[in-house]
Assembly symmetry: D3
């Protein structure tokens, strides 16, 4: 069993604003993040499996990159995450919620058990990890 | 003469859209960048001077950081660059135009000749340099 | 369950010197590291939990940053680790020992089970990971 | 139990070409990677153990670096991976296969259970992880 | 006048071997670099000009990226620099010689005076800069 | 004319304390930096010249690395900059003063005009550049 991680980048706009709260409450709770702003996100997708004897690869990295582009970047890159992403409707566009959404976009298009981890960096100072609904020790 | 560079980060939203063009023209010219999106910008400000004998510093880095925060980040960080920045009115929020705006915000608050270069990275793959209206060889 | 990692930096001085050994023995064992020197440390703190429905966050990153500043950086940043840190008394200020100390400073101030990992980089070529007294597979 | 990771770099040439396939088949399957080319590899070796009370170290980083140099870099650095590495004979020089080979070179020279993970980056956009024949959750 | 830098990556194989010297002499002079090996190169191309009023850009970064891909990467990416690059015939494939070759590939396809600098990193520890045949102070 | 830059790292301890000022004055002026602490420094040395026809190199990078190790690192690496460095006597160990000292250690051991720039990073957020006593535009 080997794990293979592919790293891609995308950029998007968002703001933190709970629609059930007033502007004032959102500003108190989220500070400057209640303003519309944006990020260069770095997404790391980790898959796992056994290398094929003919190619020595768990999955061709070019195919994995194309899959991420088609399943994820097409929906998130150069978007306003508060408006343009149906899968986020009703949820704040935090890295945590984005990671769960990205997992949901990728897992059905990979072999069962093939997706191991979604890691999302919103900047150089923080990142989140999601492993699906299993509980990794 | 020594040059000292301070690096800071900010994030903002923007889109490329010339208001004299139709949506269709903007999309043809700018592609995905015509959508609202955003970036983590990295700003490098370079000053120059002679170290003070008492401190061995051209300028205290904490003072330079505070000056950048007050003069630049206060106006650009967590903003929508198409809407919230008067100094950009009538100009597209490209790194080139941003660098000129940032120069204009910093130069008057530094000694004459003290600001050497403004470098702005919109992502890890590109950056722009502005040296004011002098022509550096 | 989602894991969230916050990265911060601090700098400190230290030397490797076992007080039960002679200077000569310390030099033989630790080489140049027996001299007083210093590092820019990069600390990554990983917490885990379920995002709150109202905010989409496991923990506000600003609150996590403030907690790390108050619990850890206040004690380690701009310090001489051989002299200024009571929690290290009697132990060499290696990354391994520092990671255990940092865990002890953070864990009591987070929900039970909320602290997952302390990662400490002393330079770009090495880092240590500590998961508390549990044994992660 | 603490984990300690040491990062080293090496560079090597390789091409992807299954000797049972024609040049044409290799080109169709592997694209440009069927040409001879090369990489700067970044190798991260993670060991685990309990810090020694006298030194506060799981293993001296200098000793770990020397072990990696002797066991791994001596065989892979500045080599043509398709020709010069007996342990890769009959296998394509993919990161997956390289990680397994590197594990095999290091594990016998460390205490039982002491080697935790081999991570290999072929570029800044991807990496593979190998944990030996155990199955990490 | 603003300078705009675009960063791209490519990978290639090479060895240092002066064909007028014996294998033994090449090995004495170049050490391990006389073996076939390879690198991930990072190329930074800097152009200069005045932003167009309509777009706020010196040159569209996508157009610059496409130009670099067509003029440079097509000839160098996934190649054996000792064999596959006519422009290097008779010269060792050092970063210095590569930078001059890259300048020659790009300058004729940009406006006169538009190309300012070619910077080439062969690894994270070194880079070369070439400014054409002018002498920058 | 080509410029070649070599990057090396070293680590050292220091504190900012003007011996003509009281402890209280030093603390007021320098804040936490008046405490003994330390850094991982990154030093970039840029030389310039014409590549030799036989080797395609301005200077062998291994020879440049060895020169920096012998002339600079031997004096600064794993040192207490306030105590162990005669060339800094009477001056605060700021990056500005260090860059001038490093220039003085390197320039006499390179061909006249061969040393172009000394760049010193004390952390990821700042760096200084020194070009000797010439005034670069």
């Amino acid at each position: 069993m080997i794990r293979v991680t592919k790293r891609v980048e995308f950029c998007a706009a968002h703001r933190y604003a709970n629609p059930r709260w007033s502007d004032e409450e959102n500003r108190q709770r989220f500070g400057k993040a209640a303003n519309l702003h944006g990020h260069n996100y770095v997404l790391e997708v980790t898959i796992q499996g056994t290398p094929a004897p003919d190619t020595g690869m768990v999955m061709d990295l070019k195919a994995l990159k194309d899959l991420i582009a088609d399943a994820v970047l097409e929906r998130l890159d150069h978007k306003n995450l508060n408006v343009d992403v149906p899968a986020l409707a009703g949820r704040l566009p935090t890295p945590e919620n984005l990671a769960v959404v990205i997992w949901g976009l990728l897992a059905p298009r990979l072999p069962a058990g093939g997706l191991y981890r979604v890691r999302l960096h919103a900047d150089d100072r923080s990142y989140v990890d999601y492993y699906g609904e299993v509980c990794r020790p």
